[in-house]
Subunit: 142 residues, 2 copies
């Protein structure tokens, strides 16, 4: 079997399976796309971010970030202020409403993941972490 040992396939499959549970939360329950959710998380971790910074951090193509920001702005969870010195930049930040929303959604996401991983021993979790860390180092994501 070719695929079973093929790293990109294994990672993609596991990513999809893992996301099944959590997707239901941000999608169906809170009406967010994955990109909106990721942008929301990243904005929760910095006072303000430009679209370009978000592209790096999410990471994602600028069109996806642009549309996610527009959607979050429409929803009133994000505001954007164009930079005084260089008006090409727009600094996005969560509104109070956005912060509150994130604080509602985040624990649900954590709980769903915890439930998923519940059957695993500490040793198993450590193995997962070690494996992923190797890959993260490879991609300079650590």
């Amino acid at each position: 079997m070719f695929l079973k040992g093929y790293l990109p396939y294994r990672l993609n499959l596991l990513a999809e399976l893992t996301s099944e549970n959590t997707q239901a939360i941000y999608r169906r329950r809170h009406g967010l796309t994955r990109m909106e959710w990721r942008v929301l998380v990243n904005l929760s971790e910095a006072p303000t971010l430009t679209a370009s910074e978000l592209c790096e951090r999410v990471p994602a193509h600028k069109t996806k970030v642009s549309r996610a920001l527009a959607a979050l702005e429409t929803r009133g969870w994000v505001t954007r202020r164009s930079d005084e010195a260089d008006r090409r930049f727009a600094h996005a930040a969560l509104t109070l409403k956005g912060k509150r929303a994130f604080n509602r959604i985040r624990p649900e996401m954590v709980a769903a993941t915890e439930e998923l991983l519940a059957p695993l021993s500490a040793e198993d979790r450590h193995k997962i972490d070690e494996g992923l860390k190797v890959l993260e180092r490879l991609f300079g994501q650590d």
Copy 2:
């Protein structure tokens, strides 16, 4: 930082990063979608498969498999023959052209992945494998 330690995010990000190289091969170079590529691989590993069997093996929803099969058939890489005994089933198989195509693409994919993983020691690779195996067991994918 919430995301950095969050498993679904870590997996998705690594899957995306890993796929960047290989995607360029089946997409740009050979004009296949990811689903068409996956269906192609699975068909290369069995004489014939029905759409339902492919749904399980890929794994993917039946609409995606249906469309991937239709595209591969149009391209002349796949033929379908409806089952004599139960005409609801259609057995898909690679044509000679399809097999040749797969035999061209596969080594390119393997090479791209090898290149990606080249910097890693045997020990690192083992760690990755161990971690992924834990998750695969969790999802019953082993």
